[in-house]
């Protein structure tokens, strides 16, 4: 019954374009996001943040702030004892939520205030006196590995290597020295990518309430309310079961709402004040003190035979993790050459610390940077070999049976079909004009499963509640209702999906790694199948026949066998109505660690026009081809492809954190950190391929992340083709393009 194997069944509901159930709430302003909840007696909390990139905190005097009328609580690190019991990652989270002995980046929190209103809280912040001793800082990933760079986290420094180098993730196969020795052509280049932010439109926001009896509630915008619960409870010494976390509607996350930031402080302030506390970040705080992605610096080397067979490839990429270590370089190393079958390859992802905010996941984290280097190098290789860039990729493409650079042997995968679809797409034949260029690039992302728990309850009228513990950031309720309806044989409209709070279901892993529809979808299928077993038992009881004689078909119980031919089918509604007299409520439940997430590949085509006078790049046409496994709701699959491509376009052309020599962020607002607006983009064309994931009953693969991987490389190739000068640094902002043209004498 719980066999996750793909069966190739025919679908009635899956694949249709139904209206999302939360649509009306979201177009009428009724949907409640992180900042939209209030509680009786609530206070407003604000954070005081370091104006320095790196400074010792010698003293914090909060006495004047505490005395200001209307101030109910002020806290510093002194109010947050270390309860992490040697858990290094948890201690990092504690230190990141509030600086202890040192402020580690511009924007690092140093004190929090809760007051009766915002203006009182603002006044209180001004009354807190912090005595800093400024320390040397470093914000560039390569500078951080210079001999004279200040060491950001001495507790992570290892003998025999630079103190800011945390670790290296190394992956690959074969013998690259021998491979390069066999190559006829070798291209070796260096690249850099800027630090970007997920740019979700909703700032971090929460409403925290802790009672003196040790219970608490947290309403918060998050991708993982269970993980927030576990982390906050541990940091504050609370019992996990006594902290109820409810995920609000979430106004975008893209990985940035997978970790706690100010939430433990809001809870600590509430506990100290014994009042509910609302805390909402400003946009400036979001940029400075949440978790943007890594900036990188890398060298890529690829060698091929004259016929285009790639025989060796090497990548080494340094990932700037911010002030706390992450696994970002490691992930990047795993993804580098995943699209290809290369006998000798090595990819090294290096994790480096800097005086910048703690990096968090950003949609297929670490893959876009590595893909920028690899896909740019492959394009240059194709020029040296005189082979069409799509054909060169196809010649070396990974297929079913190819061993991935990080170990597993691929099952059925979609990279070759996406490249073939690109090759055959009318977009590839469209004429280009002056100053215009076309680029193609590929991308890979793992996708994950993870711990998942869900409940399916059938009401007395036969309508169904499906409660899940993953969040809905872009139509997941619709997809999951479709899956439950498909499995039960009822209509989509008869299923209502709820996002359960942490007290209503067992632990669910954070909604990341494109796992929401994959894993909660799988849990919904198995919960529904359990409910069907109960429905069959109840039908047997109603008919007074053995349950073995009951089958479930098209939403009804049918009695099998000639001797029962007088029994007309009982619909789910018929059985639900009688539940009270046949054994009580009818439900299905499923909990498991979902395995079998299907890897995902995409290939993109982009046309650009570059104005040689201003250096400005306009995207003329964009096509995404991606394997979805099975598109449950095609509208929202297309939406994921388009949104990911748009984020990649922003990253490729405009977005980057700009730090001054003082180590302070200079563009912490949407005016100066410019994400693409409607007039910047053309219509983004999409093509969904469906190569079923053998590890899911419906063939589902995660779809949310992969399409942010190719745009940097695709646009880099297109811009380079348009201007005739290779671009090695992202973003390809107008000043950078003009500089490249100038240096090339164009």
């Amino acid at each position: 019954m719980n066999d996750p194997k793909y069966t190739g069944q025919e679908f009635k509901v899956i694949g249709s374009r139904v209206k999302r159930p939360d649509g009306i709430d979201k177009v009428t302003g009724r949907a409640r996001y992180g900042a939209d909840m209030n509680a009786p007696g609530q206070l407003v909390a604000l954070m005081l943040r370091s104006p320095h990139a790196h400074a010792r905190i010698k003293k914090i005097d909060i006495s004047k702030a505490e005395k200001l009328p209307g101030v109910k609580a002020v806290i510093t690190a002194a109010d947050l004892p270390d309860l992490t019991e040697g858990n290094a990652g948890l201690f990092d989270t504690l230190e990141n939520s509030m600086a202890r002995d040192r402020a580690l980046y511009d924007g690092h929190a140093v004190a929090g205030v809760a007051a009766i209103d915002k203006s009182t809280a603002k006044k209180a912040l001004k009354l807190i006196k912090v005595t800093y001793e400024k320390l040397p800082h470093v914000t560039d990933v390569d500078d951080a590995l210079e001999d004279d760079a200040p060491i950001i986290q001495p507790r992570y420094a290892t003998e025999g290597q630079h103190g800011n180098l945390i670790n290296k993730g190394e992956f690959g196969q074969g013998d690259i020295d021998q491979g390069f020795a066999e190559a006829d052509v070798i291209v070796e280049r260096s690249y850099k990518t800027g630090q970007t932010h997920q740019g979700y439109i909703e700032p971090h926001a929460c409403l925290a309430s802790v009672s003196p009896d040790g219970t608490g509630e947290l309403w918060v915008t998050t991708q993982g309310h269970y993980s927030y619960r576990n982390t906050c409870a541990q940091l504050l010494g609370m019992d996990i079961a006594k902290l109820k976390v409810t995920s609000s509607e979430i106004g975008g996350g893209f990985g940035g709402k997978t970790h706690v930031w100010m939430e433990p402080i809001a809870l600590a302030l509430s506990r100290k004040a014994n009042r509910p506390v609302k805390m909402v970040m400003s946009r400036e705080e979001v940029f400075k003190a949440s978790g943007p992605t890594c900036s990188t610096s890398m060298e890529i080397k690829i060698g091929a035979k004259k016929d285009g067979t790639i025989v060796a490839a090497r990548a080494e990429c340094r990932y700037m993790n911010g002030a706390f270590p992450g696994m970002w370089g490691t992930l990047g190393g795993m993804t580098a050459f995943a699209c290809y079958s290369i006998p000798n390859n090595k990819a090294i992802g290096v994790n480096v610390l800097c005086n910048r905010p703690k990096v968090a996941a950003y949609r297929a984290p670490s893959a876009p940077m590595m893909a920028f280097g690899v896909e740019s190098t492959i394009d240059q290789l194709s020029k040296e070999l005189g082979i069409d860039p799509v054909e060169l990729r196809l010649k070396n493409v990974a297929r079913e049976g190819t061993q991935a650079p990080y170990g597993p042997v691929w099952g059925p995968i979609g990279i070759e079909p996406t490249l073939e679809a690109v090759r055959d797409h009318p977009h590839m034949k469209a004429k280009l004009g002056k100053n215009q260029g076309r680029g193609v690039a590929c991308g890979f992302w793992f996708n994950i499963g993870g711990q998942t728990c869900s409940d399916l309850n059938i009401g007395p009228d036969g309508t169904v509640n499906l409660t899940v513990g993953t969040i809905d950031v872009g139509g997941a309720r619709a997809s999951l209702a479709m899956i439950a309806a498909e499995e039960l044989g009822i209509t989509y409209e008869d299923v209502k999906v709820n996002i359960g709070d942490t007290s209503s279901l067992g632990h669910n892993d954070t909604t990341e790694g494109s796992r929401g529809t994959f894993s909660s979808g799988m849990a919904a299928i198995f919960a529904a199948r359990k409910a069907v077993d109960v429905l069959k038992e109840r039908a047997a009881k109603m008919w007074q026949i053995p349950v073995e004689s009951v089958i479930w078909e098209d939403g009804s119980a049918r009695a099998n066998g000639k001797e029962h031919s007088n029994l007309s089918p009982l619909t789910l509604k018929d059985i639900a109505k009688k539940a009270g007299s046949t054994g009580g409520p009818i439900a299905g439940h499923h909990e498991a660690t979902a395995e079998g997430a299907g890897v995902s590949f995409a290939s993109h085509i982009v046309d650009v026009e570059v104005d040689p006078e201003t250096g400005k790049t306009q995207i003329l046409r964009y096509t995404v081809v991606q394997d979805a496994g099975k598109a449950i709701h095609p509208d929202y699959v297309e939406g994921q492809f388009q949104g990911a491509a748009a984020q990649g376009i922003g990253w490729a052309l405009n977005e980057e954190y700009i730090y001054g020599k003082d180590g302070r962020l200079q563009n912490s607002g949407f005016l100066d950190y410019r994400i693409p607006v409607c007039s910047d983009l053309p219509s983004i064309d999409t093509k969904i391929l469906e190569i079923p994931n053998p590890g899911h009953p419906y063939g589902i693969r995660g779809v949310g992340e992969t399409s942010i991987v190719p745009p940097l490389g695709a646009i880099g190739n297109a811009v380079s083709n348009a201007v005739g000068v290779r671009m090695y640094e992202v973003p390809m902002s107008p000043p950078r393009i003009l500089k490249a043209l100038d240096e090339a004498g164009v």
């Binding site: 649509g23 949907a31 740019g199 439109i201 909703e202 139509g475 693409p676 409607c678 983004i684």
Partner: protein, 157 residues
């Protein structure tokens, strides 16, 4: 700071409130009047999530003072539907999957309505420029543009 007494009209209803002279209209609408459909994405007029119309003119309510609403007529997303009947823009945003997370949606709806009130048959380029003051990070704008085109067609019927 002394409070300012304001008499205004919001979504066709008469409303009175008292607010500090330096409080933004966005904060008044959200925190004093409970119109939470007005969203704050930046507080600096860069994202358009708090878009409303003031005497028919599209503005970011974070850039207007609460005191400035005296004697004016305000429309927020809460005032778009006619009872149980959604505005065609609201209908078409749902039909076209023009929202993912939905946080920018109220602002887009208000901005799109301001456009269609002025221009009943905008070109795609006109739509894209009219909505350039509203940031969406989820959709890549494609389905938003299609929803506005579909709603414009409905409204011309």
């Amino acid at each position: 700071m002394a409070g300012v007494h304001v008499t205004t009209t919001i979504n066709s209803d008469p409303v009175e409130y008292v607010c500090p002279a330096d409080e933004s209209l966005m904060d008044v609408l959200r925190d004093r009047l409970g119109l939470m459909g007005v969203k704050e994405g930046c507080g600096t007029g860069d994202c358009g999530a708090c878009s409303i119309t003031l005497d028919g003119q599209l503005v970011c309510s974070c850039l207007v003072l609460g005191a400035e609403a005296e004697g004016r007529a305000i429309t927020t997303v809460e005032g778009m539907a006619d009872g149980q009947n959604l505005h065609p823009l609201q209908e078409q945003f749902i039909n076209n999957a023009a929202l993912q997370c939905g946080i920018c949606t109220p602002g887009f709806l208000i901005a799109a309505k301001a456009l269609l009130d002025e221009n009943s048959d905008p070109t795609e380029t006109e739509i894209r420029y009219a909505l350039a003051g509203n940031l969406c990070r989820c959709t890549g704008y494609d389905k938003i543009v299609k929803a506005v085109q579909a709603a414009a067609k409905d409204l011309r019927k």
